[in-house]
Symmetry: C2
Subunit: 431 residues, 2 copies
């Protein structure tokens, strides 16, 4: 964890280093992934079978390639009531939020008599990757699948590795809740390749989303363009902007909620009060002492954490913009004023009673967000990631006569005479 | 050119081959591009200078790194009046169409008392790649730059190679018309690297769009995630669905307008009348005889063209969906009925008086469209490609008490105790 003070002489250099430290895994997995994708394209299910045996240590022909709908339904019915109700609340609220994202078609006729517009349609099929093991989060399945359903995707395919043949009942329950059409027990780069190119058993999809390890992320990057993907994901981060009127324990818990995800995550506190900064640091230490995930959170906090003191909270805003964080909390009296001035963040959490974790589960907005400074140009996952827009034009003779001559002039200037002819023939005939 | 009849026994196999033929360049440029990007990251302007000397055969220190605004303005003023008016008409109509794409922010309070929504902002800076030489199209500069301007991008950077030091006055004129803030005389993968990572002279941008050769396309793929990009572009295509009531010369011109772009482009005619198909084929041959771009169009038509006869035009629709073409024309009496049934296309041109070329220049919709079957999942370039969405949440004590327990239950079930604590601390305090 580094401590910085915006008034210090060396601040700019130290802060610039913080911004530029991308914390991306540098593991060179590209060649491995390329080999795996090639094998799945060439050998289909046989390759999936072999990779699963090798990497997940079970035989798909014994354990089964698919989890059927009845098994998912049983997992859902078998949840503790508290958990089932919580998942249902989350699904309902996520659906309500994303329904407002549905795009509107346009269709109008302009002064030249040209009818034009744009029409949105869902993709035919979407594939959702759900990691196995520790990071198998049912909430992530909801956050990926529900926007696809709201978009109107007809075929929703879940792939998830089941290491040693063990299924995760929470993931199956979530698959039931979103009405997944297929659940396949495959993971890794091989599962992404199967979704993108198809195999004998798994029909290809159009869009692949969902988090995964470095192999999965690289596989998505390599199939980008063959299918749509959600984004290139990197390590997760939170920025908390807090004044001294907060309970230091609350703010410490928020910083640690990010740190417990992974050793590469980053938690940064901005405050206008050095005493409060010290109090939060002390609270972090106290909470780490009894946190079950302390082994991870300790490394993330020590290696990537930062506490930055500015003269005012206003002064923090341009610094937060340079970080373009995945999550930003404004724990102060007038959070909206600060948020209005901020340009770059994946998601914002306003006020003292809005811890980031509330947005991970039940609030409604998506928790799949741009990381690693990508909020400069990217958005969280949404309904239009599972849709595409077709523009259209319709001209009658009169409209073509009006727009035709300019088209002929430009096409000829660009050295494209067949373009010019396709318009000129129709104008000549009309005259 | 292949002729297919949907009634023939071998049709399904032949059509499937047509769909699967991606026509992507297989040149292995990835390693070259990776070396170039590394050099620009390490050496900045020195690398740009060296690559430009080697590949474009001029010395940037002599010819100048930038084209200044006065030179662009002079190029615009020097255009023939007909061309200047045509460019202005195009810009006005493109702007009007894209203004309707501006997204709306949302901000509402739901029944649980949660205030939530989403806010759109433009990216800070966009870089537009404009190819040099034969494919230096001013129309493409308009199609890329105007959506960025409508989005509200404050810094608009154009990069364009000037082989042998020769500038293209049409491109400079278009740069003036869109009010480009900077025009740099660099191209190739090195220009894309400079836009993504920045050099001493060129500040990095947030989004890079625009067409280019295989090196430029691969460079955009490699920097995807460091910046946003428009899309992975492949060879261009048109599908024309036409009944026998059309003038075969008009339809032949439309097919050739696609074929003249590049030898990899594809033109496909669907018709319900074998006699009309033959008449169009004959017209293509007649027009090729005097077409100045015949050397290119002939190869594209012979290698990739197709004429497909179906029993009815309706029967063509599911086949067109499998092709998911960049452009589709419906040259028939009720084009809207066919378009309503189609799911996948980049842009649709409805009716006998709507040649595709009208959409390339002045109609208004974007001509940067998904190619190579990518209309299954991708859209044409638009305003939101230069914007990003920040979701936000604001809970008061009462709302947190309502949503908090479900969050705690889910966080604990997912093994994320610090998430649970960040909520539980606030609920406990409130009670």
């Amino acid at each position: 964890m580094i401590r910085l003070d915006a008034s210090d002489a060396g601040f700019e250099a130290a802060f610039a280093a913080l911004v530029d430290d991308r914390r991306e895994t540098s593991t060179d997995v590209a060649r491995d992934v390329s080999t795996i994708i090639r094998a799945v394209r060439d050998d289909g299910d046989a390759a999936l079978h072999a990779f699963t045996q090798k990497l997940d240590r079970h035989d798909l022909n014994d354990t089964g390639w698919r989890v059927d709908a009845a098994t998912c339904a049983a997992a859902f019915e078998g949840l503790e009531p508290e958990l089932r109700i919580a998942l249902e609340l989350a699904a309902t609220r996520i659906r309500a939020y994303h329904e407002k994202q549905r795009p509107t078609d346009t269709d109008f006729t302009d002064a030249a008599g040209v009818r034009l517009g744009a029409r949105w349609r869902a993709v035919d099929a979407a594939g959702i990757y759900v990691p196995g093991g520790r990071a198998a989060y049912p909430s992530t399945l909801l956050m990926n699948a529900i926007p696809a359903r709201v978009a109107g995707v007809e075929r929703l395919v879940v792939v998830t590795p089941t290491p040693d043949g063990e299924v995760n009942p929470l993931v199956l329950a979530a698959a039931h809740l979103v009405g997944a059409d297929e659940v396949w027990r495959v993971g890794g780069a091989q599962a992404v390749a199967a979704l993108a190119y198809g195999t004998q058993r798994i029909a290809r999809v159009d869009v692949v989303t969902g988090p995964g390890n470095a192999w999965v992320a690289e596989a998505k990057r390599q199939v980008y363009g063959v299918v749509g993907i959600d984004m290139v994901a990197g390590p997760s981060e939170i920025v908390v902007v807090a004044d001294a009127q907060n309970d230091p324990e609350w703010i410490a818990a928020d910083l640690l909620s990010q740190a417990e995800h992974d050793v590469t995550t980053q938690s940064i506190l901005f405050t206008d009060n050095a005493g409060f900064a010290a109090a939060v640091e002390a609270a972090v230490e106290r909470q780490l002492a009894d946190l079950p995930t302390a082994a991870t959170a300790r490394v993330a906090w020590d290696d990537n954490g930062a506490v930055i003191v500015t003269r005012t909270l206003d002064e923090a805003i341009p610094l937060v913009d340079r970080l373009a964080p995945e999550h930003v909390e404004f724990a102060c009296d007038d959070p909206r004023a600060l948020f209005d001035r901020l340009r770059h963040a994946g998601s914002a959490f306003l006020g003292r009673h809005t811890p980031e974790a509330i947005g991970d589960y039940v609030a409604g907005p998506n928790h799949v967000l741009p990381t690693g400074r990508r909020a400069r140009f990217a958005s969280g996952l949404g309904v239009t990631d599972f849709m595409k827009r077709t523009s259209f034009l319709q001209l009658d003779e009169s409209a073509l006569n009006e727009l035709g001559p300019a088209t002929v002039a430009l096409a000829n200037a660009e050295g494209l005479p067949a373009h010019a002819r396709s318009v000129a023939l129709r104008i000549r005939t009309n005259r």
